[in-house]
């Protein structure tokens, strides 16, 4: 109960701070929008080509935006040494991870929901034929990115080369979740039955569960001095 209470308190605090400063959301949205525009002018695809490549481009844009957003995830906690204040809380340090993960997933999914129509317009895609599946892919893919990203954001927060460290640690390990999310999105955009994405969904769910539990258990070593 203490773990959930601390995680929920941290989640609410992040929402309040973000609503006031808009640090993370602004950087994610601006970056995502720029990437979407750049991809559109770089490829100028036909409608058929767009359905084939949009899944990959969409997730590349989400990945780059996520790295930018995740790199800020622990910036608030390192200012004024707030992370030590959190570590004084009567709960295991994994609670900090869960609270941060929840807020990161929310910020990233909200940014993706805003960026999706931009991609839809630029690439002339009909994204909303199966909104439930689309949202599920977004959620699972983003959860996978955020599960590792939150952990590595904490690892890199106190390093000298924070901006370099996070992508260096994150990118190689997120390849499976990225491939699975791209495949699922492409199947969705091509209008194929979602049963074709069965294996990719299993990979996404498995990745999310394994890395969330692993990072939660290991987080105390990350914040230990």
């Amino acid at each position: 109960m203490d773990t959930l209470r601390v995680a929920a308190a941290l989640f609410r605090k992040d929402l309040l701070a973000e609503r006031r400063t808009k640090d993370v959301s602004t950087s994610i949205l601006l970056f995502g929008f720029t990437v979407a525009v750049a991809f559109t002018f770089a490829f100028e695809p036909t409608a058929e080509e767009a359905r084939k490549i949009a899944g990959g481009l969409l997730w590349l844009a989400f990945l780059f935006s996520a790295i930018l957003g995740l790199s800020r995830a622990f910036a608030r906690e390192t200012a004024n040494d707030c992370l030590r204040g959190l570590r004084m809380a009567p709960a295991d340090p994994g609670a900090i991870y869960l609270g941060k993960l929840a807020s990161n997933v929310l910020f990233l999914v909200l940014a993706e929901v805003v960026l999706l129509p931009v991609f839809g317009i630029f690439f002339n895609l009909s994204l909303w034929d199966r909104p439930g599946w689309l949202f599920l892919i977004l959620l699972l893919g983003t959860w996978g990115l955020a599960s590792l990203g939150t952990m590595f954001s904490a690892v890199s927060a106190n390093t000298r080369m924070q901006e370099l460290m996070l992508p260096l640690l994150l990118l190689p390990l997120t390849v499976p979740v990225l491939i699975a999310a791209i495949e699922c999105t492409t199947i969705l955009l091509e209008g194929r039955p979602m049963t074709d994405a069965h294996l990719w969904f299993r990979l996404l769910v498995g990745f999310d569960i394994i890395f969330t539990v692993l990072c939660w258990l290991l987080f105390s070593y990350v914040v230990e001095e």
């Binding site: 203490d2 608030r76 200012a79 004024n80 040494d81 204040g85 570590r87 004084m88 009567p90 001095e225």
Partner: protein, 256 residues
């Protein structure tokens, strides 16, 4: 906006056991050392702090005061030796035990983008306080910050931030207050009020451990004085006027 007033002492209580019947824990350090690579921050410190003591830790910069306070706050693990609370080794303590500790470090642990009340509300949620709004109002009044409840932390002066930090550490009414040079950044009247406030906390039966490098100022409410030098505990005695000269001599020797 009216100027915030200085911290007011907590309501007087009869010295002795805490009103809730819960005593402060007995803290014991057994040959405790802390290394940072080759640097020895604490060197085989042997120390027992009885419940309800008011301990002042003196020492020049780099003597190990901060490391000692952070270790007592369970923020650092010893490299060697043991830290025990009521004979229970620190690694075996339940995370809920942290509820009994309050810590003020060199930094404030405050979120600049939140108001004073929101910062306290967040920490109240972390500690799962009952009736948080009432407790936050109480503690803001105790620290003379009731007029600054809706000010963003980033807009507060250093002294007001320090008072808000005191409010944060005191919010959950811990049994042990650990304060690392808490007077830094405070003007003289506020420092005096803070020492009176700490003495008031001590009178309620709580253990208070304060680090300082200012001998004259820090000794007033203390019952015991420790002096650290290069990580070693070189002086440990009750606070007695007749030993003041000895303490001053040791502190000056350490500073040379």
């Amino acid at each position: 906006m009216p100027a915030a007033t200085s911290p007011s002492p907590p309501p007087p209580r009869v010295p002795g056991p805490r009103p809730d019947g819960r005593g402060s824990p007995r803290i014991a350090l057994r040959r405790l050392s802390k290394y940072y690579e080759r640097f020895i921050a604490l060197d085989r410190v042997e120390l027992t702090i009885e419940p309800g003591e008011f301990v002042v830790v003196l020492g020049r910069n780099g003597a190990g005061k901060t490391t000692l306070l952070r270790t007592l706050a369970l923020l650092l693990s010893p490299s060697e030796g043991e830290l025990l609370f009521d004979a229970v080794p620190a690694p075996a303590l339940d995370p809920a035990f942290r509820r009994r500790l309050g810590f003020i470090g060199h930094e404030t642990f405050l979120y600049d983008e939140l108001t004073a009340a929101e910062n306290l509300s967040f920490y109240a949620a972390l500690y799962g306080l009952d009736r948080p709004a009432q407790r936050i109002a109480e503690v803001l009044a105790e620290m003379g910050l009731e007029d600054r409840a809706s000010s963003l932390a980033r807009n507060l002066s250093r002294g007001l931030k320090q008072r808000l930090s005191l409010a944060r550490a005191w919010l959950h009414q811990p049994d042990v207050l650990l304060l690392d040079e808490p007077a830094t950044g405070l003007d003289t009247p506020t420092r005096s009020r803070m020492h009176r406030w700490l003495a008031g906390c001590h009178r309620t039966g709580r253990t208070v451990v304060v680090s300082s490098h200012d001998l004259a100022e820090s000794l007033q409410p203390a019952t015991r004085v420790l002096l650290l030098e290069k990580g070693k505990l070189v002086f440990d005695a009750p606070n007695a006027p007749e030993r003041l000269a000895e303490m001053r001599e040791l502190l000056e020797a350490a500073a040379r």
